[in-house]
Symmetry: C2
Subunit: 235 residues, 2 copies
């Protein structure tokens, strides 16, 4: 039984993209897990302390932090079914993760940062506000400035390269990984589980190919992601 420390907001809302990456990877490997709802302020005390972020997993005596390190650890210890299947898909995952973090997540965050803040456990709200305002060098209100529609349009534009990659998916090849989902699918779906968990309205237009693929991702593993607490059926 693998233990996953999983970031949670008020009402046990599992909103963290980084933790969803690991949640999907563990499900892909078919591993039995237990998740522990974790607030930001709980992280410094986890597993003896010293770990800066979640996800963290404990597998027997091994404690691993960071979603990428967890993915490669799982791949080494539980090789089948592979998360990557081909070295080119592993390179894809690295490039995709970096692009999601630098180009997509900031655009998404602008849409719903105040919604996210409102849905955190009250004890986490101060930490979240202070750390994010320091990182972005502006208040959360300044980050979310401007009409919501403008920020949504920017987020949709930021997702362009993912949309292009998914434009060719079909019943015969429904995932980025091909016939079956692979780690690039989990990275991209995890990025969208975040708005789904906290944003009070849809982000993507109903005819967006990203949405058709995301529905398939929600269905995986007996609806693992679909059963998660959501604000909206979207993203």
């Amino acid at each position: 039984m693998i233990l996953l420390y999983d970031l949670a907001g008020a009402g046990d809302r599992r909103f963290s993209s980084n933790c969803w990456r690991t949640r999907f990877a563990l499900a892909h490997k078919g591993l039995a897990i237990e998740t522990r709802a974790t607030r930001f302020i709980d992280i410094p005390a986890l597993e003896g302390g010293g770990y800066p972020t979640v996800p963290i997993i404990r597998d027997g005596d091994d404690v691993i932090v960071d979603s990428w390190r967890i993915a490669t650890f799982l791949e080494a210890r539980y090789p089948a079914p592979s998360l990557f299947d081909h070295p080119g898909v592993e390179a894809f995952a690295r490039q995709l993760q970096s692009w999601l973090v630098t180009a997509v997540s900031p655009a998404l965050l602008k849409v719903f940062v105040l919604d996210l803040h409102a849905r955190l456990d009250p004890a986490d709200q101060t930490y979240f506000r202070q750390s994010r305002e320091r990182r972005f060098e502006m208040t959360l209100e300044q980050l979310a400035d401007g009409p919501r529609e403008t920020r949504i349009a920017a987020a949709r534009t930021a997702l362009g390269p993912l949309r292009e990659a998914l434009a060719d998916t079909s019943a015969q090849r429904p995932f980025l990984g091909g016939v079956r989902p692979l780690y690039p699918d989990y990275l991209a779906a995890a990025a969208l589980m975040w708005p789904r968990a906290v944003s009070p309205g849809p982000l993507l237009s109903v005819d967006d190919p990203i949405l058709r693929w995301f529905e398939r991702m929600l269905d995986l593993f007996d609806g693992l992601a679909r059963r998660a607490h959501k604000e909206w059926d979207g993203p």
Copy 2:
């Protein structure tokens, strides 16, 4: 013998990223080709007219335009060796191409747009200036505004996701595609052939992992890309 219409500047300088994608793809397939140096202003008359851009290839009676359509045409007609090898690598190529076009190329162009303009055939300079000034809604001089070091720093930052994907490459797995280069390698190398052909100084720092990989790309196919006209050994 496949004919490739290949964009060329003054002194037969083959600078086009889009054409380099096709050049690499043809070499990967081991196909005999002839290239025809083409200026922007020559494009409307090629192959009976009606094609908006190069690369264009003619293979027997088939005329194909657009580097992506050419890649999938070659893959269907000459399956081995595959440009993709795995459906996840084809999805990688789609996502990478879109990211290169929307995030990387604009940042690169800001560095050397005036160098590129100066190295075009004089008959192409008017077309290039007018079409690009219309597209970007500013003059070429405004596009290249600000200190060169600032624009270079922005271009290096824009390449972050590629750098991350290449950080794991090694003697055992030297390419994005793994042991051998695949179409994602050609897409990324093609984007860098552009500054190499026209920019009068280096773009990347000497310790950049992108540069180590690019050296390997220059060596492929008996130094096909290394033999091309260059301003600098870089990018």
